[in-house]
């Protein structure tokens, strides 16, 4: 289902504050490129949290999204550039979730060799060993999380989707 084109988008004199892309009908909230190093994670967290608040999230929702994005970026920092640590960048793109701005989508792009998604798994909850916990946290707070085909020039694309309203749970 597609929406009619926003007439404001065709007016070059006054571009809308939140430009919408025709392909996804989502509004860009933030786009950030940082070195894939641990100190960058603080910058990512602040940006994602503020973007979620701008999109209408409450503080607890924004905190959860911030955690999930941090965990996903940690995977880039720790694993994607494993062959040559801290040599590359990562790009974090935060958008409202189409079609009706009912959540937020976060794309995390890196420029490292493609990872094998089958090696990125959650942990067995009966097992208290460190490791795998990050993936579990991502899936605990996001409705969707996974690798997508990366655009040209990128190595990997990991996409998180978190909705504002969860469907009611029976029982």
């Amino acid at each position: 289902m597609s929406r009619p084109a926003d007439p404001a988008a065709a007016a070059p004199a006054a571009p809308p504050a939140r430009a919408r892309t025709a392909a996804t009908d989502s509004a860009l909230l933030a786009r950030l490129r940082v070195p894939a190093r641990p100190p960058s994670l603080r910058i990512v967290r602040r940006t994602v949290r503020e973007a979620a608040l701008v999109a209408g999230a409450d503080a607890a929702w924004a905190d959860d999204l911030m955690l999930a994005v941090d965990e996903a970026c940690q995977n880039v920092v720790r694993h994607a550039y494993a062959a040559a640590p801290e040599t590359g960048d990562m790009v974090i793109v935060v958008r409202t979730h189409p079609p009706s701005d009912d959540g937020v989508t976060v794309d995390i792009l890196d420029f490292a060799p493609a990872v094998d998604p089958t090696r990125v798994r959650g942990r067995d909850l009966d097992d208290v060993r460190p490791g795998g916990l990050g993936v579990h946290l991502i899936h605990a707070v996001c409705e969707e999380a996974g690798f997508q085909p990366p655009p040209d020039g990128a190595g990997n694309l990991f996409r998180l989707v978190k909705h504002f309203a969860k469907p009611p749970v029976d029982g």
Partner: protein
């Protein structure tokens, strides 16, 4: 992020504050394992933790396992709402020995 180590009665209190993330969780891990070295019980005060990620939780798990291995008590005390949220998401809130305050943890040790 800071780790303050202080002796209190029979225990060592390690007070973490700030954001415990990938950048500083190795320092937390080292500080807690060092604190366990002399065999005194360790109380980890988490009241001033504004954020913790999986690497920070993993540091706590590792310290907890090291304590159990050597037969030393390790308790978490005054866990901040932000830290408790992540522990609940990780389903570790019932794995750790969590006390409402440092004083309560000390009282448990005195029993």
């Amino acid at each position: 992020m800071t780790v303050d180590i202080a002796a209190r009665g029979p225990a060592t209190v390690a007070a973490l504050s700030g954001e415990v993330d990938l950048e500083c969780s190795p320092a937390v891990r080292r500080a807690l394992l060092d604190a366990l070295r002399d065999g005194r019980p360790v109380i980890v005060d988490l009241s001033l933790v504004s954020y913790i990620d999986s690497s920070g939780i993993a540091s706590l798990v590792e310290a907890y396992q090291a304590a159990r291995k050597q037969g030393t008590a390790l308790m978490l005390a005054a866990v901040s709402p932000a830290a408790l949220r992540v522990m609940q998401l990780a389903r570790l809130d019932r794995v750790f020995n969590i006390r409402p305050t440092v004083d309560d943890a000390l009282a448990v040790l005195a029993q």
